[in-house]
């Protein structure tokens, strides 16, 4: 099958699963509700791998618009560049939206990652959610989510992408609010939805701005080509990129819109693993990578992207240092790692775009493995501890949960970036890109150097808080909360197998795709037409040659390793007993600040929520005023009626008298008129 056929069948499969699962619930087969999702995800993963292989083998070629549902062996020149299904979704005036799929290395990698991780998380969920109310609902929304996510990464049309983008947002809302009877879960769902919506406003505006300057095209490739052929002024392009970045900020939980992600941990843990760690929140990174041909042309926006990423990474890591809720630590760590990816994306244009984007996407790829693993591990802990997730309440679970312990340790090590694990390679590439931008970059050198410093600092903090969580959970004497009851044992096999699979991925996948294959991942990704175009723009604007592949810098790797080991060592020194450590008095204010999440929620409450409340109260008062005026107007006819009402007293004789008097009056008039 050709790549297009594979992509379409992935979407069709997921759609079928979405429709089939509620049907099972209706047929009283609720217990088997996980089967369609697991099967569809698994098959999709296989198809996505085939597609990846197909894209890899056939390599890039010229663009071929039009349907290409052919066997690729017959038509080797048919590329993955851009595939238009022959249908128009809708069109109005100059706006014409088609079902256009873009199949290239970037989307193929994303698709394979999403479906692969989703498969194992779905299997884990089958064990984790067993016996929960709304089992079928859970898997229905999961299927819908993966469908929307695949649509998002495959779309070659901004509106199709937007459809997937909003779809995953909806699913996120539904799954965060899965325990909708719980007020905090409902509030968190609302917060997540509204916060991302703030960013989406910018995203939609950005799309329309690009549409208006991009020759009224809505297909990404066409817009890029048009803008390349007819350069737009820097201000407009910068504004468009900034608006797109606004959407990415909302979706990928960056400053200042990151606050929804930690709260989103109210959802079931596998949901956190899939949506709020491995896939959906990386959509913003994907969007920027996809739009890199535009972003490389506006260095100032790129600098802003890097700063945002750096600030977010640092703040989130700082907050994660003292959190006592295991899932929250992981959530802030996700925010922080997403910040890392944006830092890397921000260097595109200062260094070769393909290197920067490859670093970001590579980190996205490895992060999906170890962060999903960590979340599932915390889910396994929660499962055993009777839904207690506060690290102060349990400890020393090494012996109680051996499999979870081993896999969680691997995840921690990968996240911390210990050498040779997958997180190490991807983090190293990001640091490398930042360092390169700082030393030899073409724009904003000092700034990138500063961001590089932040990144190294964050790397150390990451190692510290990750291992702090690990030590608090698994080391020291065994403490088990009473809620655990008879559950305090290792999770069933259906939950352990996904942990082991993802742990293997977290261990080896990074090394496998980059250093062992001579930067195979970066080279493959660089073949993406959009990234190629970004490279060409970069070469033309700065009159330099693109770097073909990242180079391994021992100094940077050493620095990253030192930061990671330093953080690990400090965590070991402070938390190896598995209990919260006493802090020196000097660190108390900092500690309080971190524990209270930097008071960001409070600041938002003061700066945004309160004024909004005041405005709402004022509006209501004004509404009352308007109501009063309206009521006053309605009093006029009523007053008149009060005057006339006594006349209708129900006495027939009174009416007769009235008639006679009236008649008399008429007669009198006639008589006097005639006589005059």
């Amino acid at each position: 099958m050709s790549s297009t056929a594979l992509a379409v069948s992935v979407l069709a499969l997921l759609l079928a699963a979405t429709l089939l699962t509620p049907l099972l619930a209706k047929l009283r087969l609720r217990r088997y509700a996980h089967l369609p999702a697991v099967l569809a995800f698994g098959t999709s993963a296989v198809l996505a791998m085939l597609m990846l292989n197909d894209v890899y083998v056939n390599g890039p070629a010229g663009p071929t618009p039009g349907l290409s549902l052919h066997v690729s062996a017959d038509f080797p020149w048919i590329s993955f560049h851009e595939t238009k299904l022959p249908t128009t979704w809708f069109s109005a005036g100059l706006l014409n939206v088609t079902f256009s799929l873009g199949i290239d290395p970037l989307s193929a990698i994303m698709l394979a990652t999403v479906t692969f991780v989703a498969t194992w998380i779905a299997i884990f969920s089958a064990g984790y959610m067993h016996g929960e109310e709304g089992y079928a609902r859970y898997f229905t929304i999961m299927s819908l989510f993966v469908l929307c996510m695949c649509l998002l990464v495959l779309a070659n049309n901004f509106f199709l992408l937007l459809a997937g983008w909003e779809g995953v947002g909806l699913c996120s809302y539904l799954l965060v609010g899965y325990y909708y009877a719980k007020p905090s879960a409902a509030a968190a769902a609302r917060k997540a939805f509204l916060m991302t919506r703030l960013g989406d406003v910018g995203f939609v505006l950005g799309i329309f701005l690009l549409w208006s300057v991009g020759g009224h095209h809505t297909d990404l490739t066409q817009i890029f080509a048009h803008i390349q052929a007819h350069p737009v002024n820097d201000f407009t392009l910068g504004l468009a990129c900034l608006l797109l970045f606004c959407g990415a900020v909302g979706k990928s939980a960056q400053l200042p819109l990151y606050v929804w992600l930690p709260d989103a941990m109210e959802g079931p843990t596998p949901v956190s693993a899939l949506i709020h760690a491995a896939t959906m929140v990386t959509a913003g990174v994907y969007l920027l990578a996809r739009c890199s041909p535009l972003f490389v042309q506006v260095p100032s926006v790129q600098a802003y992207v890097a700063i945002t990423g750096g600030a977010t990474a640092l703040l989130a890591a700082f907050i994660a240092l003292t959190q006592t809720d295991l899932k929250r630590v992981l959530a802030y760590s996700t925010v922080s790692q997403l910040g890392y990816m944006f830092m890397a994306l921000g260097t595109a244009g200062a260094v070769t775009p393909s290197i920067a984007v490859a670093a970001a996407i590579f980190h996205l790829f490895t992060h999906a493995f170890f962060k999903a693993l960590l979340f599932l591990g915390s889910g396994s802990v929660m499962h055993a501890m009777g839904n207690v997730i506060d690290m102060r309440r349990f400890g020393g679970l090494r012996t109680v949960l051996p499999v979870t312990h081993a896999t969680f340790l691997i995840g921690c090590a990968a996240l911390a970036g210990l050498p040779l694990l997958s997180g190490f390679w991807s983090k190293d590439q990001i640091l490398d890109a930042l360092d390169h931008a700082g030393e030899h970059g073409l724009t904003h050198r000092e700034l990138y150097l500063g961001v590089f410093g932040v990144a190294v600092l964050t790397a150390g903090m990451t190692a510290f808080y990750t291992f702090r969580a690990y030590f608090l959970t698994f080391w020291g004497e065994t403490r088990i909360p009473e809620e655990a009851g008879h559950h305090a044992h290792e999770s069933p096999r259906i939950m352990c197998v996904p942990l082991i699979v993802l742990a293997v991925g977290a261990l080896f996948v990074g090394a496998l795709v980059e250093p062992l294959t001579h930067h195979g991942f970066s080279k493959f990704l660089s073949a993406t037409p959009a990234i190629q175009q970004a490279n060409k723009t970069y070469e033309r604007e700065h009159n330099v040659r693109s770097q073909s592949q990242p180079h391994f810098n021992w100094l940077i790797a050493g620095l990253g390793t030192a930061a990671a080991v330093g953080g690990l060592g400090l965590a070991f020194a402070m938390y190896r007993k598995g209990q919260l450590a006493q802090l020196p008095a000097a660190a108390k204010p900092l500690h309080a600040m971190s524990l209270n999440k930097g008071y960001v929620d409070e600041i938002y409450h003061g700066l945004v929520v309160k004024p909004a409340e005041i405005a709402a109260t004022g509006s209501r008062q004004f509404d009352g005023l308007v109501d009063a005026v309206a009521r006053l107007v309605s009093y006029a006819p009523r007053m008149l009626a009060a005057l006339l009402r006594p006349l209708q007293n129900g006495l027939v004789q009174f009416y007769a008298l009235g008639m006679v008097l009236g008649l008399t009056a008429v007669v009198l008039v006639i008589v006097f008129k005639v006589s005059r």
Partner: protein
Amino acid sequence: MTELGLTHFLILSAFLFACGLLCIATKRNAVGILMGVELVLNAANINFVAFTRYLPGFRIEGQVFAVLVIVLAAAEAAVALAIILNFYNNRGTVDVDQANDLKG
């Protein structure tokens, strides 16, 4: 003493009419109102007959109309009395002020 003319009849008729109206407007008793109606009708009858008698253009039309009015009055009295009787059966009175069921 002048001869009896049309004017006298008209004055009588007007007087009767006024009495009838007053009766209709003031009586509480339904039977009394019916009597008032009869007075009004008969005032009209006098006019009919008097006009025929004194105006040259008419021959017998006034008398015919008067007979018609008398017949109509009889029919009307029958219906009205039937209503009054029913009303009396329901309410135990013929006071028209009590007939207020349709008042909103």
